[in-house]
């Protein structure tokens, strides 16, 4: 443990990004993620990088678009209302097949909402990041260590697949401190022949673009992109299983909700209840396989969420709706307590999967 340091989740993201080779950060202040900007403002000038406070989230994501066009690693971060503003840029990044890392430290919504933790941007991140048919890699850390690890991983995946990686965290993850080790073997960036770095009069000009006025061309680009997505769905899903071997009740939870659920599972196990958890680490691609497998034994799936029930849809799809489904949730910045989750587990156990 000697090499571990205590860091806030937001700071861990920032330092991990620097380790991953990110030298450009653009953002606009918003609680509860501002520590990322503050950290970058301090560090970037000292390592020859660029921190720039943009005039808006809209400008920030477009600065990201500009840097990404040149082939450099680049990121922005925000919280829920700011991500809505960035969604235009997210769509353009997807349309132009540009890699980027975007962090959403979620807070309660809709509208201005609140500033306390939330997971209610799940749909936005996994299904509707902006207009048009596109996906983002959505990574959901559940510890400060994972805030850092998934940041490095996020950059690598973004470059590999030429798309946006989104770190979908929440206020708790951003603000809490835990020991973290920042030792990484960062993979070398793939060659980016498509980047606009100047032709140097040695090649045809490169064009970074998302406009296709011919419908057949636009269709083709969409289909090609979705072939890539299909490969990602088959190869990049990440998850953690916790006490799932004999589980008759399966909890689905990510981020802070999974931490709370673990406490409840420990207590339920003491009472002899066979309960476990599948914690998706990638929300897109969603880890369908372990859920489908779990549905062979588990009669009930409890989705623990800080939303009105968003991920539960994906749990149902993954398990082909063949179980019983329970939502255990708090919203608005409230977090379910271990006791609330335990109650849901005990009730599910009593019902035994009966409707």
């Amino acid at each position: 443990m000697a090499d571990k340091v205590l860091m806030k989740g937001n700071e861990a993201i920032a330092e991990a990004a620097i380790i991953a080779g990110c030298r450009h950060y653009f953002g606009y202040p918003i609680t509860p993620q501002t520590e990322i900007a503050a950290y970058m403002a301090k560090r970037m000038p000292k390592i020859g990088g660029c921190f720039l406070q943009a005039e808006s989230e809209v400008a920030a994501i477009n600065m990201v678009y500009g840097v990404s066009s040149t082939g450099h690693r680049v990121m922005t971060s925000s919280s829920s209302p700011g991500i809505s503003l960035k969604s235009e840029g997210l769509s353009y990044l997807a349309g132009a097949d540009l890699p980027a890392l975007v962090v959403n430290v979620q807070r309660g919504g809709p509208g201005l909402g609140g500033i306390q933790p939330s997971q209610s941007d799940y749909y936005q991140a996994t299904k509707a990041g902006g207009h048009g048919d596109f996906r983002m890699l959505v990574l959901a850390p559940a510890s400060v260590q994972e805030m850092a690890d998934l940041t490095v991983k996020g950059f690598e995946l973004a470059d590999k697949y030429r798309m946006t990686s989104m770190i979908l965290a929440d206020g708790t993850m951003g603000q809490m401190m835990e020991p973290v080790s920042l030792q990484y073997d960062v993979k070398e960036m793939p060659e980016k022949k498509w980047a606009t770095t100047g032709t140097n009069m040695e090649r045809e000009h490169n064009i970074v673009n998302s406009l296709f006025l011919q419908p057949d061309e636009l269709e083709k680009s969409n289909i090609e992109r979705f072939e890539r997505y299909k490969y990602i769905e088959e190869n990049e899903a990440m998850y953690e299983e916790y006490m799932m071997d004999d589980a008759e009740i399966c909890i689905a939870a990510f981020g802070i909700a999974s931490r709370v659920a673990k406490n409840a599972i420990v207590e339920a196990r003491k009472k002899g209840i066979k309960v476990g958890m599948i914690r998706p680490i990638t929300l897109w691609p969603f880890p369908n396989k372990p859920f489908l497998k779990a549905s062979e034994k588990a009669h009930t799936f409890i989705s623990v969420e800080l939303s009105m029930g968003q991920m539960i849809d994906d749990v149902k799809l993954a398990t082909k709706c063949r179980g019983e489904y329970v939502l255990c949730n708090r919203v608005g910045g409230m977090i379910p307590s271990p006791e609330e989750v335990l109650l849901a587990i005990e009730t599910a156990n009593k019902n035994g999967g009966a409707k």
Binding site: C50, V58, N62, Y65, G66, N200, E202, L211
Partner: protein, 249 residues
């Protein structure tokens, strides 16, 4: 004997612009400047959303197509990542002066070392002739069918005058391309705006008063006359800011 040649910085792709539209002239001026400065290999252009959206097909340098109004932000990212390269945006009045106003003003405020070519033709061309932020009082457009009523939808935005109040901006000049003399002046201004960037001087914007015969409902020739009669009186030509020149005085 002078043989007419196309600048190297322009591709062979036929332009889609309407007959009489002055976009072609301004494209050519930019390309001539790029050729003369020998910077094609290190230039990166940012195309807007609007009639010149497909400018990326017409310039031979590397090109990026930005979302509506965000070209200065995209250019900021590119320039910060590649400070040794030359970065320009090419934007129309809707793009730069309406939806992208914040990006424009803040790029100027930061004295972002980029070159901005701003086409002001007082109308939205691509969407078929709607009122622009620069449409003149009383001007009839598809969305101001009874003439622009300043009581209802306010007054045109004068970008050069406005940005001249921004401390950060280096160089602002308004030119026109409706006659030979003006075209020559326009080229000088565009060249200076690129040279400023190469010399590290900062945010340089050239506003080019242009024509849109199709959406103005005029013949190309009449459209050029309309620039003299209506546009230039409202948008006087000239240098609105030249910090380095002023400091040298």
């Amino acid at each position: 004997m002078v043989v007419f040649e196309k600048p190297h910085a322009l591709t062979d792709v036929p332009m889609h612009y309407c007959p009489g539209c002055t976009h072609g002239i301004v494209h050519r001026l930019v390309a001539e400047v790029i050729d003369e400065l020998g910077i094609e290999g290190k230039t990166i252009g940012i195309a807007p959303v609007g009639c010149s959206v497909m400018a990326y097909n017409y310039f031979n340098c590397d090109m990026i197509e930005a979302s509506h109004g965000r070209a200065p932000a995209v250019a900021t990212g590119v320039k910060r990542a590649l400070p040794e390269n030359v970065v320009f945006t090419y934007q129309g009045d809707g793009d730069l002066a309406s939806i992208g106003m914040a990006e424009t003003v803040h790029a100027a405020a930061r004295n972002e070392n980029i070159t901005v070519i701003f086409i002001n033709n007082a109308i939205y061309g691509m969407t078929g002739g709607q009122m622009a932020p620069t449409s003149l009082p009383g001007q009839i457009t598809q969305t101001s069918p009874y003439g622009r009523d300043t009581n209802h939808c306010g007054f045109p935005v004068k970008i050069c005058e406005m940005l001249s109040q921004v401390d950060g901006a280096e160089y602002l000049e308004r030119v026109a391309v409706n006659n030979v003399k003006n075209v020559k002046n326009a080229k000088k201004a565009i060249k200076k705006a690129f040279e400023n960037q190469i010399n590290g001087k900062g945010f340089s914007l050239v506003e080019v008063i242009s024509s849109c015969p199709t959406n103005w409902g005029l013949t190309p020739k009449k459209a050029l006359e309309w620039i003299d009669e209506k546009m230039i009186p409202y948008y006087p030509l000239g240098v609105y800011k030249d910090r380095s020149a002023k400091e040298a005085e």
